[in-house]
Protein backbone atom coordinates (compact mmCIF):
# COMPACT_ATOMS: atom_id res chain seq x y z
CA UNK A 1 0.00 0.00 0.00
CA UNK A 2 1.35 3.43 -0.94
CA UNK A 3 2.01 5.88 1.88
CA UNK A 4 -0.29 8.87 2.19
CA UNK A 5 1.02 11.87 0.19
CA UNK A 6 2.17 14.82 2.32
CA UNK A 7 -0.71 17.05 1.21
CA UNK A 8 -3.23 14.60 2.61
CA UNK A 9 -1.47 14.01 5.89
CA UNK A 10 -2.57 15.67 9.11
CA UNK A 11 -0.65 18.83 9.91
CA UNK A 12 1.25 18.63 13.12
CA UNK A 13 3.26 20.84 15.40
CA UNK A 14 6.25 19.88 17.50
CA UNK A 15 7.00 21.42 20.88
CA UNK A 16 10.49 21.38 22.29
CA UNK A 17 10.32 21.16 26.07
CA UNK A 18 13.10 21.31 28.60
CA UNK A 19 12.51 19.02 31.56
CA UNK A 20 13.86 20.17 34.90
CA UNK A 21 13.31 17.98 37.91
CA UNK A 22 14.63 16.55 41.12
CA UNK A 23 15.39 13.08 39.72
CA UNK A 24 18.94 11.77 39.41
CA UNK A 25 18.48 10.34 35.91
CA UNK A 26 16.01 11.35 33.24
CA UNK A 27 12.77 9.34 33.19
CA UNK A 28 11.95 7.29 30.07
CA UNK A 29 10.02 8.73 27.15
CA UNK A 30 6.93 6.72 28.05
CA UNK A 31 6.71 8.35 31.48
CA UNK A 32 6.90 11.80 29.87
CA UNK A 33 4.08 10.82 27.50
CA UNK A 34 1.89 9.55 30.34
CA UNK A 35 2.47 12.72 32.38
CA UNK A 36 1.48 15.04 29.50
CA UNK A 37 -1.41 12.85 28.39
CA UNK A 38 -2.83 12.65 31.93
CA UNK A 39 -2.59 16.42 32.22
CA UNK A 40 -4.42 16.80 28.88
CA UNK A 41 -7.16 14.44 30.02
CA UNK A 42 -7.53 16.42 33.27
CA UNK A 43 -7.67 19.79 31.54
CA UNK A 44 -9.66 19.06 28.36
CA UNK A 45 -11.25 15.70 29.04
CA UNK A 46 -10.98 12.58 26.92
CA UNK A 47 -12.54 14.22 23.86
CA UNK A 48 -10.15 17.17 23.86
CA UNK A 49 -7.08 15.07 24.51
CA UNK A 50 -8.07 12.69 21.71
CA UNK A 51 -8.29 15.59 19.25
CA UNK A 52 -4.87 16.86 20.26
CA UNK A 53 -3.08 13.66 19.16
CA UNK A 54 -0.37 14.12 21.75
CA UNK A 55 2.75 12.00 21.42
CA UNK A 56 6.31 12.27 22.63
CA UNK A 57 8.39 11.61 19.53
CA UNK A 58 11.89 12.20 20.85
CA UNK A 59 13.65 12.67 24.15
CA UNK A 60 17.29 12.92 25.00
CA UNK A 61 18.85 14.27 28.15
CA UNK A 62 16.74 17.07 29.55
CA UNK A 63 14.92 17.83 26.29
CA UNK A 64 11.91 16.19 24.67
CA UNK A 65 9.79 16.86 21.59
CA UNK A 66 6.02 16.63 22.03
CA UNK A 67 3.84 16.29 18.94
CA UNK A 68 0.30 17.65 18.66
CA UNK A 69 -2.21 18.51 15.96
CA UNK A 70 -1.92 21.94 14.35
CA UNK A 71 -4.19 24.44 16.09
CA UNK A 72 -3.80 22.74 19.47
CA UNK A 73 -0.35 24.13 20.31
CA UNK A 74 -1.60 26.54 22.97
CA UNK A 75 -3.56 23.80 24.72
CA UNK A 76 -0.61 21.40 24.57
CA UNK A 77 1.67 24.05 26.09
CA UNK A 78 -0.89 24.48 28.88
CA UNK A 79 -0.96 20.71 29.42
CA UNK A 80 2.82 20.58 29.69
CA UNK A 81 2.80 23.58 32.02
CA UNK A 82 0.52 21.95 34.59
CA UNK A 83 2.67 18.83 34.97
CA UNK A 84 4.26 18.99 38.41
CA UNK A 85 5.16 15.36 39.22
CA UNK A 86 7.05 12.82 37.16
CA UNK A 87 8.17 9.44 38.53
CA UNK A 88 7.39 10.68 42.03
CA UNK A 89 9.62 13.75 41.80
CA UNK A 90 8.91 17.42 41.34
CA UNK A 91 9.28 18.45 37.72
CA UNK A 92 8.62 21.35 35.39
CA UNK A 93 8.27 21.20 31.61
CA UNK A 94 9.47 24.45 30.08
CA UNK A 95 8.30 24.99 26.53
CA UNK A 96 11.24 26.31 24.55
CA UNK A 97 9.93 26.41 20.98
CA UNK A 98 7.14 25.33 18.64
CA UNK A 99 7.99 24.16 15.16
CA UNK A 100 6.49 22.41 12.15
CA UNK A 101 9.17 19.72 12.03
CA UNK A 102 11.05 17.68 14.59
CA UNK A 103 14.30 18.93 13.08
CA UNK A 104 13.17 22.55 13.42
CA UNK A 105 12.28 22.01 17.06
CA UNK A 106 15.63 20.39 17.79
CA UNK A 107 17.42 23.38 16.28
CA UNK A 108 16.34 25.41 19.32
CA UNK A 109 18.29 23.23 21.73
CA UNK A 110 20.98 25.31 23.31
CA UNK A 111 24.03 23.71 24.80
CA UNK A 112 24.10 23.96 28.56
CA UNK A 113 27.81 24.16 29.07
CA UNK A 114 28.50 26.49 31.94
CA UNK A 115 31.55 28.67 32.06
CA UNK A 116 32.67 31.64 34.06
CA UNK A 117 31.73 34.15 31.37
CA UNK A 118 28.15 33.08 30.75
CA UNK A 119 25.29 32.85 33.21
CA UNK A 120 26.03 33.02 36.93
CA UNK A 121 24.63 29.49 37.36
CA UNK A 122 26.59 26.55 38.70
CA UNK A 123 26.04 22.90 37.85
CA UNK A 124 27.51 20.26 40.14
CA UNK A 125 26.37 16.97 38.68
CA UNK A 126 27.85 13.95 40.41
CA UNK A 127 30.06 16.02 42.68
CA UNK A 128 29.78 16.29 46.40
CA UNK A 129 28.38 19.60 47.55
CA UNK A 130 27.85 20.38 51.21
CA UNK A 131 24.30 21.38 51.95
CA UNK A 132 23.98 24.86 53.34
CA UNK A 133 20.87 24.04 55.33
CA UNK A 134 22.07 20.96 57.17
CA UNK A 135 19.08 18.76 56.31
CA UNK A 136 19.02 16.12 53.61
CA UNK A 137 16.67 17.85 51.19
CA UNK A 138 17.87 19.12 47.85
CA UNK A 139 19.05 22.72 47.88
CA UNK A 140 19.05 25.05 44.90
CA UNK A 141 21.61 27.80 44.95
CA UNK A 142 23.89 29.83 42.76
CA UNK A 143 27.64 30.17 42.61
CA UNK A 144 27.34 33.49 44.39
CA UNK A 145 25.68 31.71 47.31
CA UNK A 146 28.53 29.19 47.49
CA UNK A 147 31.19 31.88 47.42
CA UNK A 148 29.33 33.84 50.05
CA UNK A 149 29.21 30.87 52.43
Amino acid sequence: MRPLPPTLRENRRYLLVKITGEFSEMPPQKEIYHAVHDAAAELFGDVGSAQMHIAVVWSEGEHAVIRCSRGWEQQTIACAAVVTRLCGSSVVFRTVAVSGTVHGAKNHIKSTTWDSGSLPGYQCSGKKVDSLKGNNTQQYLTRDDIFKE
Binding site: V82, P120, L132, L141, T142
Partner: protein, 216 residues
Protein backbone atom coordinates in the same frame (compact mmCIF):
# COMPACT_ATOMS: atom_id res chain seq x y z
CA UNK B 1 8.58 45.34 32.46
CA UNK B 2 7.40 41.75 32.84
CA UNK B 3 6.56 41.39 36.52
CA UNK B 4 5.73 38.44 38.73
CA UNK B 5 3.47 40.02 41.33
CA UNK B 6 4.12 37.60 44.19
CA UNK B 7 6.68 34.93 44.96
CA UNK B 8 7.52 33.57 48.39
CA UNK B 9 11.12 33.23 49.47
CA UNK B 10 11.44 31.69 52.91
CA UNK B 11 14.41 31.13 55.16
CA UNK B 12 13.89 27.36 55.24
CA UNK B 13 12.89 27.06 51.58
CA UNK B 14 14.55 24.71 49.12
CA UNK B 15 16.05 27.51 47.03
CA UNK B 16 18.08 30.53 47.97
CA UNK B 17 16.74 33.98 47.01
CA UNK B 18 19.41 34.32 44.32
CA UNK B 19 18.50 31.00 42.77
CA UNK B 20 14.84 32.00 42.69
CA UNK B 21 15.75 35.23 40.91
CA UNK B 22 17.98 33.38 38.46
CA UNK B 23 15.12 31.02 37.61
CA UNK B 24 12.79 33.99 37.19
CA UNK B 25 15.27 35.50 34.76
CA UNK B 26 15.40 32.30 32.73
CA UNK B 27 11.59 32.49 32.45
CA UNK B 28 11.75 35.99 30.97
CA UNK B 29 10.68 37.84 34.12
CA UNK B 30 12.45 41.12 34.80
CA UNK B 31 10.87 42.15 38.10
CA UNK B 32 9.45 40.21 41.04
CA UNK B 33 7.59 41.10 44.20
CA UNK B 34 9.15 39.01 46.95
CA UNK B 35 7.11 38.11 50.00
CA UNK B 36 8.28 35.80 52.76
CA UNK B 37 10.65 35.79 55.68
CA UNK B 38 14.00 35.30 53.94
CA UNK B 39 16.76 37.69 54.81
CA UNK B 40 19.57 38.69 52.51
CA UNK B 41 17.43 39.31 49.45
CA UNK B 42 19.41 41.39 46.96
CA UNK B 43 17.80 44.48 45.45
CA UNK B 44 18.58 43.12 42.02
CA UNK B 45 20.23 39.96 40.75
CA UNK B 46 20.91 38.60 37.24
CA UNK B 47 18.97 41.53 35.80
CA UNK B 48 15.85 40.91 37.89
CA UNK B 49 14.69 43.82 40.03
CA UNK B 50 13.26 42.95 43.42
CA UNK B 51 10.39 44.73 45.13
CA UNK B 52 9.53 43.71 48.68
CA UNK B 53 5.95 42.76 49.32
CA UNK B 54 3.81 42.05 52.33
CA UNK B 55 0.67 39.96 52.41
CA UNK B 56 -2.00 40.95 54.91
CA UNK B 57 -4.55 38.32 55.88
CA UNK B 58 -8.25 38.76 56.56
CA UNK B 59 -8.67 40.75 59.75
CA UNK B 60 -11.30 42.92 61.32
CA UNK B 61 -11.38 46.62 60.49
CA UNK B 62 -9.16 48.08 63.21
CA UNK B 63 -6.48 45.38 63.04
CA UNK B 64 -6.42 45.60 59.25
CA UNK B 65 -5.85 49.35 59.25
CA UNK B 66 -3.09 49.00 61.86
CA UNK B 67 -1.44 46.27 59.78
CA UNK B 68 -1.46 48.47 56.68
CA UNK B 69 -0.01 51.42 58.62
CA UNK B 70 2.84 49.31 60.04
CA UNK B 71 4.13 48.27 56.61
CA UNK B 72 7.26 50.24 55.70
CA UNK B 73 7.18 52.58 52.72
CA UNK B 74 8.25 51.09 49.43
CA UNK B 75 6.64 47.73 50.10
CA UNK B 76 3.98 46.38 47.78
CA UNK B 77 0.94 45.66 49.94
CA UNK B 78 -1.15 42.62 49.04
CA UNK B 79 -4.37 41.85 50.88
CA UNK B 80 -6.02 38.44 50.99
CA UNK B 81 -9.57 38.85 49.74
CA UNK B 82 -12.45 37.89 51.99
CA UNK B 83 -16.08 38.85 52.44
CA UNK B 84 -17.54 41.49 50.16
CA UNK B 85 -17.50 44.19 52.86
CA UNK B 86 -13.89 43.43 53.74
CA UNK B 87 -12.89 43.65 50.08
CA UNK B 88 -14.53 47.07 49.77
CA UNK B 89 -12.65 48.27 52.83
CA UNK B 90 -9.37 46.83 51.57
CA UNK B 91 -9.70 48.35 48.11
CA UNK B 92 -10.52 51.81 49.40
CA UNK B 93 -7.77 51.85 52.02
CA UNK B 94 -4.86 54.07 51.10
CA UNK B 95 -1.64 52.12 50.78
CA UNK B 96 -3.18 48.85 49.58
CA UNK B 97 -1.90 47.96 46.12
CA UNK B 98 -3.19 44.49 45.28
CA UNK B 99 -6.05 42.19 46.19
CA UNK B 100 -5.03 38.54 46.13
CA UNK B 101 -6.60 35.17 46.99
CA UNK B 102 -9.51 35.59 44.59
CA UNK B 103 -10.04 31.82 44.39
CA UNK B 104 -10.83 31.58 48.10
CA UNK B 105 -13.59 34.16 47.94
CA UNK B 106 -17.05 33.30 49.20
CA UNK B 107 -19.91 33.58 46.73
CA UNK B 108 -20.52 37.22 45.80
CA UNK B 109 -17.20 38.29 47.28
CA UNK B 110 -16.13 40.14 44.17
CA UNK B 111 -19.05 41.75 42.41
CA UNK B 112 -19.44 44.68 40.01
CA UNK B 113 -19.42 47.20 42.89
CA UNK B 114 -16.04 45.97 44.14
CA UNK B 115 -14.79 45.93 40.53
CA UNK B 116 -15.82 49.57 40.04
CA UNK B 117 -14.21 50.57 43.33
CA UNK B 118 -11.00 48.78 42.33
CA UNK B 119 -10.95 50.71 39.07
CA UNK B 120 -11.61 54.03 40.84
CA UNK B 121 -8.92 53.47 43.49
CA UNK B 122 -6.47 51.86 41.07
CA UNK B 123 -6.15 48.71 43.16
CA UNK B 124 -4.97 45.67 41.25
CA UNK B 125 -6.35 42.14 41.37
CA UNK B 126 -3.89 39.25 41.35
CA UNK B 127 -4.36 36.10 39.29
CA UNK B 128 -2.29 33.45 41.03
CA UNK B 129 -1.16 30.81 38.52
CA UNK B 130 -0.23 28.29 41.21
CA UNK B 131 -3.97 27.82 41.79
CA UNK B 132 -4.37 26.72 38.16
CA UNK B 133 -1.33 24.46 38.26
CA UNK B 134 -2.52 22.77 41.46
CA UNK B 135 -5.18 20.22 40.37
CA UNK B 136 -7.06 20.53 43.68
CA UNK B 137 -7.86 24.21 43.21
CA UNK B 138 -7.88 24.30 39.40
CA UNK B 139 -11.62 24.17 38.74
CA UNK B 140 -12.45 26.86 41.28
CA UNK B 141 -9.62 29.03 40.02
CA UNK B 142 -10.58 28.77 36.36
CA UNK B 143 -14.23 29.65 36.98
CA UNK B 144 -13.38 32.48 39.41
CA UNK B 145 -10.74 33.98 37.15
CA UNK B 146 -13.13 33.87 34.20
CA UNK B 147 -15.75 35.78 36.23
CA UNK B 148 -13.25 38.39 37.42
CA UNK B 149 -11.80 38.72 33.95
CA UNK B 150 -15.22 39.55 32.51
CA UNK B 151 -15.59 42.29 35.15
CA UNK B 152 -12.10 43.54 34.30
CA UNK B 153 -13.04 43.90 30.65
CA UNK B 154 -16.00 46.04 31.67
CA UNK B 155 -14.53 48.18 34.45
CA UNK B 156 -10.80 48.18 33.49
CA UNK B 157 -9.31 47.76 36.95
CA UNK B 158 -5.61 46.79 36.96
CA UNK B 159 -4.93 43.11 36.64
CA UNK B 160 -1.61 41.48 37.51
CA UNK B 161 -0.36 37.92 37.27
CA UNK B 162 1.71 36.11 39.85
CA UNK B 163 3.22 32.67 40.04
CA UNK B 164 2.68 32.47 43.81
CA UNK B 165 5.50 29.99 44.06
CA UNK B 166 7.96 29.20 46.81
CA UNK B 167 10.11 26.78 44.78
CA UNK B 168 12.00 27.07 41.52
CA UNK B 169 9.57 24.61 39.93
CA UNK B 170 6.63 27.00 40.24
CA UNK B 171 7.86 29.57 37.73
CA UNK B 172 6.39 29.53 34.23
CA UNK B 173 7.76 31.38 31.23
CA UNK B 174 5.73 33.91 29.26
CA UNK B 175 4.67 31.39 26.59
CA UNK B 176 3.30 29.09 29.27
CA UNK B 177 1.62 31.97 31.11
CA UNK B 178 -0.19 32.93 27.88
CA UNK B 179 -1.27 29.31 27.42
CA UNK B 180 -2.46 28.97 31.02
CA UNK B 181 -4.37 32.25 30.93
CA UNK B 182 -6.02 31.27 27.64
CA UNK B 183 -7.75 28.50 29.62
CA UNK B 184 -10.04 31.12 31.17
CA UNK B 185 -10.38 33.36 28.15
CA UNK B 186 -7.54 35.87 28.30
CA UNK B 187 -6.02 36.88 24.99
CA UNK B 188 -2.29 37.23 24.40
CA UNK B 189 -2.40 41.04 24.50
CA UNK B 190 -4.40 41.00 27.74
CA UNK B 191 -1.87 38.65 29.33
CA UNK B 192 1.02 40.92 28.38
CA UNK B 193 -0.92 43.94 29.68
CA UNK B 194 -1.42 42.07 32.96
CA UNK B 195 2.25 41.09 33.16
CA UNK B 196 3.13 44.77 32.79
CA UNK B 197 0.22 45.88 34.99
CA UNK B 198 2.08 46.54 38.23
CA UNK B 199 3.45 49.84 36.93
CA UNK B 200 -0.09 51.17 36.61
CA UNK B 201 -0.76 50.23 40.24
CA UNK B 202 2.43 51.61 41.74
CA UNK B 203 2.58 54.78 39.62
CA UNK B 204 -0.97 55.51 38.47
CA UNK B 205 -1.40 57.96 35.62
CA UNK B 206 -2.16 61.46 36.87
CA UNK B 207 -5.11 63.52 35.71
CA UNK B 208 -2.85 66.30 34.50
CA UNK B 209 0.65 65.58 33.31
CA UNK B 210 3.20 68.15 32.15
CA UNK B 211 4.46 66.63 28.93
CA UNK B 212 6.76 69.44 27.87
CA UNK B 213 7.73 72.58 29.73
CA UNK B 214 7.14 75.73 27.75
CA UNK B 215 10.29 77.75 27.25
CA UNK B 216 10.04 81.49 27.66
Amino acid sequence: MITDACIFVNQDGSATPRRMLLTAKSCGISRVVVCGNASDIPASYAGVTVLRGKVIGRQNGRQFLDAVRKIPAGCVVLVNAGENSFNRTAITTKGVHLLTGITDLPKGGFDHVVAKMAADHNTGVVFDLSRIINPKSRRTALSRYAEVHLLQRKYHFPLVISSGTDTIFGFRNTTEIVALCSLFGMTRSEVYAALNGLDAVLAPPQLVTVVEKERT
